[in-house]
Amino acid sequence: MNLTCKDIGLRLEVENTLLEQLYNTGMKHYPNEFGGLLTGHYSEDMKTCHITGTLLPQKYKSSRYYFERGREGLLEKLEKLYHAEPRSIYVGEWHTHPDGEKGPSDTDKQAMQTISDHEEVTISCPVLLILATSPRGYTPGFYVNFKNKLYEYE
């Protein structure tokens, strides 16, 4: 699907098959939260983010109401993607809200800001995907942290 963040004029593209895949992965951990990294690339004019894949954490903690993603092993994989042809890079984060809303919690907003500011993160506008999941299906919410604020794509 193609989405636009009207407030700031940035666009997002993601395949439905990837969303299906994330949903299925998330449901393996249901009713606990789960998540991981989003990988992809930006368009030449840097106005569109294409999300093409995910990297799952080796270490994590989770419950119904939180998800703590570890960082072990992820850098190696991201470096491999960076040097691959075509190149993919880290573009953001995703996690589930089992039986919840697709909107971000305050913890989520804080996390995205921390990531934007982090020295070892080379992009400045990470994307956040929240999948509101239930056994019946899922609703995705897409957000981008832009200049210290989280905006939703429509």
Partner: protein, 325 residues
């Protein structure tokens, strides 16, 4: 360079969004609540629950002119068993006049409503609310049939001053537009909002209800597809071709023709306005800017065009561990 009409219209709509004037909207809502309470306190046993009936209720509002209506539905015998609609109208007018006029607002008689324009506050915000008194047709029937008679204070269209046959089910009117707008996936609402922007820019024109109904009628009568400009153009053509003859039954009372709120010469003017507009825009895309103006208070930021996903430096990221909620 020629104007991109779609982009321009998107910007017109965006710059007129209600949420860009949230503070002013909140003040309107607060005042309307206050007036509602005052009416309920004054007419304890003779008034049903006042309700909102303006464009906000219909999701067709624009932020340069809030039309905030408060319907006040009275019982049949509220002003005596032989009380007239005029008695009702004047009684409410006097109450609002005594309470607000010269103290915090200007209160005036309007076509079927009583207009309250509050003095500008420290932010320069002016709150305007129209109170529309209505009376049920028969004692005790309002809660079932929702029908009300309004008093026509000032002649408009074919309705004479003093006439009391303007009856309607305002609930049905609000619902009609809401349902319709939902089904057409926003297109109807966008066109209605653009027509309001046109009318406000021009300083005069048909009443909003007329524009709403004729837009819906256009969607019923023609195949309306394409981008926002193509849709708008089709509706403008429909109005040009049909303004003089169209019948617009009031969804609240099919016996009322809302087309009657305009005189024949007003309808002719409307048709020729549309004709001129379409001709001028066909001759030059740029003309669209003078008919459908961007609200300069909230211009679509050019900066928006400049926004990019930022990259701080080359190389792979090493995102920190993080907790999400």
């Amino acid at each position: 360079m020629a104007t991109d009409k779609v982009k321009h219209l998107d910007c017109v709509l965006e710059s007129h969004k209600i949420r860009k004037e949230q503070a002013l909207l909140d003040k309107h809502t607060a005042k309307r609540g206050e007036i509602k309470e005052a009416l309920e306190a004054k007419y304890t046993n003779t008034l049903y629950a006042p309700f909102n009936s303006g464009s906000l209720a219909k999701n067709t509002a624009v932020n340069t002119k809030f039309d905030i209506d408060l319907m006040a539905p009275f019982k049949r015998n509220a002003f005596g068993s032989s009380g007239t609609l005029e008695d009702m109208y004047e009684n409410v007018y006097k109450f609002l006049y005594d309470k607000y006029h010269g103290k915090e607002a200007v209160v005036r008689r309007q076509k079927v409503s009583i207009g309250l324009e509050f003095y500008a506050d420290a932010d320069g915000h002016v709150v305007k609310i129209d109170v529309v008194p209505g009376r049920e047709l028969n004692q005790g029937e309002y809660l079932n049939d929702k029908r009300l008679n309004l008093y026509v204070y000032e002649q408009f269209g074919r309705f004479e001053k003093g006439a009391d046959h303007l009856r309607s089910n305002i609930h049905a009117q609000v619902k009609h537009i809401r349902d319709r707008a939902e089904a057409e996936r926003d297109s109807v609402r966008k066109i209605i909002r653009l027509l309001k922007v046109w009318k406000i820019g021009k300083g005069s024109g048909p009443k909003s209800f007329f524009l709403e109904l004729i837009t819906i009628k256009a969607f019923d009568s023609k195949t309306i597809t394409g981008d926002i400009w193509e849709k708008l153009k089709t509706v403008l053509e429909y109005i040009r071709d049909n303004a003089k003859t169209v019948s617009l039954p009031d969804p609240g009372n099919s016996g009322n023709d809302v087309a009657d709120t305009m005189t024949d010469s007003e309808k002719s003017w409307l048709s020729s306005d549309m004709d001129t507009m379409l001709t001028n825009i066909a001759a030059s895309d740029d003309m669209i800017k003078s008919y459908f103006r961007i609200n300069e208070k909230h211009p679509c930021p050019e900066e928006k065009q400049e926004n990019r996903y930022g990259v701080k430096r080359e190389g792979a990221s090493n995102p920190p561990a993080n907790r999400f909620g």
